[in-house]
Symmetry: C2
Subunit: 561 residues, 2 copies
């Protein structure tokens, strides 16, 4: 993340003094009985606790989002963790709510994803590997439904499933491109029914989205029952309930549904739970973790995936609707490097000062600030400092924000932890205490699918128009006919541009968004609008991070970073 990096994230994490998680829980007024310990530094919160706190008043909710991400990296999770630490330094009982990392990208390019520098969640090694087993439970629940589907076909197919129209793939928490397109059931009559299939990465599973939107174990089961796994020969939906698979899947998710409590480098409590994709799903940590955190802390700092056009929009229209949440302030993370790229500078020239490019990139920042205002949410811009930033470049951003009466603060949480986030925390407290927040959805659920999508494209992306392919129109009619049209929209769009073209960086106006496909996620409760190809199973790079991983002589992890 910086050009000079004397310590890696892993060495900082391994040198940290952690408190036993019981002591972190005590800070939140929890007793040992409220916890299921997973080793000394991880715990799940009990269902009894989740029930007990329901009647309490909510704390303040701070949503961390960002301008459109770039390959330079913006450090949104790092700011989220650092802001939580800073709020605690200012005597606000803060809790951080993050998504769980996926093992696939950890083994691929990322090497880990739990914040960075002096703003990380711990134990970093566990969180990046199996953690408390949630991902594995989702994999098992998802694939149990798959196995029961193929067994149903093999045993006679009483439901009349059309093997050409099965929409439930299998999943693995790996980057494994060779599994994207497969044929299964080969080898003769005792080995199942031959058909085309494919594997997604586990975080792309609808089960993951469901786990992150359900507000109770019974709601979880009800949503799993509604999952459409296939269509029959009359093109009628076949559900997980009809397969008899929903109960077993729910049972497999019983523990995974409990939020995970860990701590940051500065012993700020953190709930790290759930991690759905931010394109084909809504990209936020679990609703149950966020709601529980609001009952336990004064300030809850949470993030949503990708930039404000995707994560924050979906947070407001999907998660907040289902969970009756309303953010009290939004933190919009920007970096000089990303603004420069959006201002036209190539990645390999980012180390060269370029104030004009920064200023050009500010148009994009302005658009996102405007969107948050439309949603009724006060914004604080967090200018997340990198070592290569020059004072002139930083000043260009800070001065512009001040000139526009936009709250802004420099974030130095990567290098200095909570102390580096105090200015940001003060600005956030001011924004929250202004009581300006009044979440206003941009569309009503009862609007037509076309209208809902068009509203998002115009109001959030700045598009002038939306076109729908013939395929999308046909699917829209099918969704309508099945009675699913009142669900919220989940846009699957490139995160790298406001438009649907990843090469168009910076601020765009007057473009057209093309919706190519519509896919109902009936269990999760949203309609996915695909504007391009979305890769739901990543591949490993030429030199996977896994090549450098292992254990040292004392059994400690090496190669996570």
């Amino acid at each position: 993340m910086t050009t000079i990096k004397p310590l890696t994230d892993l060495t900082i994490a391994q040198q940290a003094e952690m408190l036993p998680i019981k002591q972190i829980a005590e800070k939140l007024g929890l007793k040992e009985d409220d916890l299921d310990l997973y080793g000394k530094y991880k715990a799940k919160l009990s269902f009894d606790l989740l029930d007990d706190v329901k009647t309490r008043t909510d704390g303040k909710l701070v949503l961390v989002t960002a301008i459109n991400p770039t390959p330079a990296g913006e450090g949104k999770s790092t700011v989220t963790v650092g802001l939580g630490q800073a709020l605690n330094r200012l005597d606000k009982q803060a809790i951080v709510c993050l998504r769980e990392p996926s093992l696939g990208p950890t083994m691929g390019l990322k090497g880990g994803a739990a914040g960075g520098g002096f703003s990380q969640v711990l134990p970093m090694e566990d969180i990046n590997l199996h953690f408390t087993g949630d991902m594995h439970a989702i994999t098992a629940a998802h694939n149990t439904i798959s196995a029961m589907l193929d067994n149903h076909l093999h045993q006679g197919n009483d439901l009349g499933i059309d093997v050409r129209n099965i929409v439930w793939k299998r999943v693995l928490d790996l980057n494994d491109r060779a599994l994207r397109n497969v044929t299964i059931g080969l080898g003769g009559p005792v080995h199942g029914v031959p058909r085309e299939d494919g594997f997604d990465i586990t975080v792309a599973s609808e089960i993951m989205a469901i786990l992150c939107l359900a507000d109770s174990l019974s709601d979880l089961e009800a949503r799993i029952k509604r999952i459409v796994v296939a269509y029959d020969r009359d093109n009628e939906p076949v559900t997980a309930e009809q397969l008899g698979a929903a109960g077993a899947a729910t049972l497999l998710l019983k523990e995974a549904f409990k939020p995970n409590l860990v701590q940051t480098l500065e012993q700020t409590p953190a709930l790290v739970h759930g991690g759905p994709f931010a394109n084909i799903a809504h990209g936020c940590n679990s609703l149950i973790a966020t709601k529980t955190a609001l009952k336990l802390g004064e300030y809850v700092v949470t993030e949503a995936g990708f930039g404000a056009d995707l994560g924050a929009e979906k947070f407001c229209h999907i998660k907040s609707r289902i969970g009756e949440l309303s953010p009290d302030a939004v933190v919009l993370v920007a970096t000089v490097r990303a603004l420069k790229m959006h201002g036209g500078v190539a990645k390999d020239a980012l180390h060269v000062e370029h104030v004009e490019a920064v200023k050009r990139g500010l148009q994009l920042l302005a658009k996102h600030v405007e969107t948050m205002a439309k949603l009724g949410l006060p914004v604080v811009v967090a200018l997340n400092r990198f070592n290569s930033d020059t004072e002139e470049e930083l000043a260009a951003v800070l001065d512009w924000c001040r000139s526009q009466q936009i709250r802004v603060a420099l974030s130095e949480v990567w290098a200095h932890g909570g102390q580096g986030g105090e200015a940001l925390a003060e600005a956030v407290i001011a924004a929250v205490e202004s009581n300006e927040a009044a979440l206003t959805p941009l569309y009503e659920l009862t609007a037509s699918i076309e209208d809902k999508i068009t509203t998002i494209a115009r109001e959030v992306y700045g598009a002038s128009d939306v076109t729908f392919t013939a395929k999308a129109r046909k699917q829209m009619a099918h969704i309508q006919a099945n009675g699913w049209a009142d669900l919220p929209i989940c846009m699957a769009k490139t995160p790298f541009s406001l438009s649907d073209d990843p090469t168009k960086v910076g601020y765009q106006a007057g473009f057209t968004v093309t919706v190519r496909e519509l896919k109902p996620s009936v269990g999760a409760g949203f309609l996915v609008a695909l504007t391009g190809n979305v890769l739901t199973m990543p591949g490993l790079p030429k030199q996977p991070a896994a090549l450098n991983m292992g254990i040292d002589a004392t059994g400690n992890a090496i190669g996570l970073f």
Copy 2:
């Protein structure tokens, strides 16, 4: 397991009073620091503890095996648990060592596998579902090697792997026949290299066998490095080490390698850890759990898979060799029902008394007793009582054993827990204290592959001869050429017969065993000799147990049994 069953295993388990696992650990002289807690009733033992106890004197080792299993069920795990409970009632500090159940069969036919009746390990629901995540870690480690292999092919195949000769499949902990034979890498050049592949169930993974035979984390890594994943175009082996995948796989197994501590219904400590197949692998719980238990308890009761011809033979020739173990006594479980089936009675007629059939079945029991004597191990026959057994039938077995000077005791551990196993425990203590045990392997590692297999077939199965197919002979030469010939043999044979024909029940003599294939498991450290088709990925039945699973209104499991 019985005709009258007022309580299911699940209801007995759910009504049980468990002690916090910390208190169970205290019984063994362990401190809280020696444990990584997984909830209140499960813990992993720390690596420090495993090191600290290494210099202690070993307790006594009791191996529980059985006559050839039948569809009637013999209750070997139940006897193992019950015997541990009974030894504790007789003031011997006993520890039970069992294998971990696999999720696939739990969802399929079995519904659960953690003992039965009043001799179960707890928490039964957790143990039967995700437990401490060991199976999932093995799945992830195994499939990471697979993903790195296919990535290697995709990125240019520098190792020159022959895509027609890849021997490393993928795994999932599911019963899913449609995944047995698949083609992967379809869809064009960005989606990997097309090739044939298949999925095994996780317990069939060589990683599982390795985890159960490694005596340290560094040994674990060394064995993973040696795994042969494929052959190159010159038919030379390609290893996991050459793929650069061994470090990441070891890192993923770091926690899974620690033994799991739980308790029985009578609060006897139990280490439930690892669970390899008993045909293509050696079928015993982990070596590290057994060795650690021997340091912590006076008596360690452990079981091996299938009947004495497979599990006990492999325990003596594979696990004991690698771990320098030597059982002090063997318990041979027999039931009236199984003896009747081996005496020629069909499964649906088992409820009818048939003393003569029982007597005919005794020839099989005699053969297994003789085998244990050849191996230098004193035997106690445990006649495991079922409700349908008549007094005459039971007497036929007990009287015959006594007439042959074979130690024997009636086991009523299913119905009465430890109390029902006291007679058995007394007989076991007598056998152990006789100091008769002197483990004598039936073959030397330096003997030829052909001689080793022939010795097992003749001495253990009672075969008159062994034939090798042309394929097996070719593979034998290949193994020899690669320098792997000195590894022990792991027979893959039907468990239902002493012969290689599953329909030949009862005692057989003068038959020929046919070895069809030889497969080196170089990482695990044995040569698998296949005498028939072994299904390494089960399928679900017409009515899977999963159909009845779910959670009740209070979040408790239903449908496990």
